[in-house]
Symmetry: C2
DNA sequence: TTGAAAGCGATACCAC
DNA sequence: GTGGTATCGCTTTCAA
């Protein structure tokens, strides 16, 4: 690999001059510029980012921390983040935390060691990790905390919509599947559903689903039908969980949506592929990723930020796990 | 951030000594070691990776290039790669290429600029990118090329199995969905299926599916049923495509697997969630990611490699889109 | 066993 | 306009 020195020698100028044409900073004669550019071409020179980072004390890297890229929700989020950052010339340093505080801490640590200019984190740590005393601009995704910058969807409203749609479609004995309490969006959805159910003329029960994963949900699904065999409406904590429920219900010979209605959360690609396809509360996942990246960019450029939190709207997607009704708003 | 200098001053020694205890290299008295460690503790010092990389001319970063992390096949692959590399203290610099040679080239370029120690690439570029003159150890995933290190599944055998299973389950008019020719594994599967069909007593036809995506496949599915309305067996180029076909078939009122049998490829998580659940040729995706990472690690450590190519076996997963038969092997 | 000093490859300040 | 050089934070000879 050629260095700036080689280029300088080749062009017969100093490294300072080469640096100037490289960064278009300061004056440099048109002719010498030409020479330098020729030398760069000839040597196929490309500046060493590491040396640059060392001097500037910051890189062109951004840390991205997710619970698990294998979860379609997070990979969609990641894509949104990447698409905007990549265009601005930033690169992603990426890690899966598995909701493990130690892993999370380790990644944050190496992010810092590598002098990232910013961090996007979608983790929901049980313990509280030290993001506070990090000088690095950080945006949280799908996770709200009052003191920090964050982008997330309106989970509470989503919960309300889900409960409302379920009730107006005639379910009388509703079961809410509640995600982990420490995961804020999950808690919000639950609260939203509760808001509506508490005021409505229906029975309901609450079942905990510890994790968001399909495997976990599959086990719970069995238990749930044992416990509440006459449930006629289920509000799942997310689409993956809903898929598990759907499978189990079908296995038990229940008719959906006639015996049981089912509403998920997220609208991951899977949801429209299920049969019957899943009615769900759609989060603008890709858009959330984009907005987080844009917010981070502003933070990095030290632009003024109008609001620390960006809350995006959710939307009911009517598919085949809920019954049709007359449109009454 | 404290630097090595600060630590040296605090401990009353030279930076060289600090460096020695940091890297456990060379002699250092037990007592001074204690002092240095105390200073490190006190200042909460952690070495700057960037400076280290600059001197060593290589980082602890590894570049990972994928077509699209949003595709469950690739996110699973990524997870396998990450899980082994992360444990060895390496971090991932990650990018989506979208099968776009320019993007791919750009990422490779920044990987080099950031002095990655290795690259894992799962892209299938139409044009030929310059990996050749890169001195950096590179392992290709899900893509075979004679001169390079690669990990992939036995696509040809997979194609054979798919065709065989389809025939022994009684399909007489089979349609093969053929992925892009320039994607080697897709071509292999196609060839494998052809191997068997050519010798069998059945009719068959071939339909091209340009991309691997669901959206693309959805369009093709319609066309396919128009063109070959009496097909009674479909071998899809992958599970995403199979899902689209399944949906379209159901929409047309076809009965599966009675009217039409369907076999996919990959066994992504989605496949078992479809209804009816998808019979498919399973690739050991996560394992492929792991093996690629392990191979890369060997390459980096300059260990001797017994074989440049690692081919992993595939396996028929019988689910509900194929008919049951007596077990005749 | 330890320290001084020369790099690694870039940037930017200060002279000229 | 251009060049010399200190500097970023670390590793590694080479002497002492």
């Amino acid at each position: 690999m050629a260095t700036i020195k080689d280029v300088a020698k080749e062009a017969g100028v100093s490294v300072a001059t080469v640096s100037r044409v490289l960064n278009e900073t300061g004056y440099v004669h048109e002719d010498t510029k030409k020479m330098v550019e020729a030398a760069i071409q000839k040597l196929n020179y490309s500046p060493n980012e590491v040396a640059r980072s060392l001097y500037k004390r910051e890189s062109r890297l951004i840390g991205l921390l997710l619970p698990d890229i294998t979860n379609p929700f997070f990979s969609e989020l990641a894509r949104g983040v990447e698409d905007v950052l990549q265009k601005q010339g930033f690169r992603l340093l990426f890690g899966n935390s598995d909701e493990d505080p130690e892993k999370e801490q380790a990644y944050i640590h190496t992010f810092i060691q590598n002098q990232v200019v910013g961090i996007v984190s979608a983790t929901n740590p049980a313990g509280k990790i030290n993001y506070e005393n990090i000088a690095i601009p950080t945006v949280f995704l799908d996770r709200a905390s009052d003191e920090e910058y964050a982008v997330y969807a309106d989970g509470r409203e989503g919960g309300r919509i889900a409960a409302h749609e379920m009730i107006r479609r005639g379910s009388k004995k509703i079961t809410i599947l509640k995600g982990p309490t420490y995961i804020r969006p999950a808690q919000d959805r639950f609260q939203g559903a509760l808001d509506v159910l508490a005021q409505a003329d229906v029975e309901f029960s609450v079942v905990k689903t510890d994790a968001f994963s399909y495997q976990e949900a599959q086990k719970r699904a069995k238990g749930m039908f044992d416990l509440y065999p006459d449930t006629d409406g289920i509000i799942a904590s997310n689409d993956l969980v809903a898929a598990a429920i759907l499978h189990e219900a079908l296995r038990l010979g229940k008719s959906i949506p006639d015996d049981i209605q089912l509403i998920g959360f997220d609208d991951i690609p899977l949801s429209s592929l299920l049969f019957p396809s899943l009615s769900t509360i759609k989060q603008p996942v890709y858009e959330m990723g984009k907005q987080a990246a844009q917010l981070l960019l502003k933070l990095i450029k030290k632009e003024t930020i109008s609001e620390q939190h960006i809350q995006l709207p959710v939307q009911f997607i009517e598919r085949q796990t809920t019954r049709k009704v007359e449109d009454d708003g």
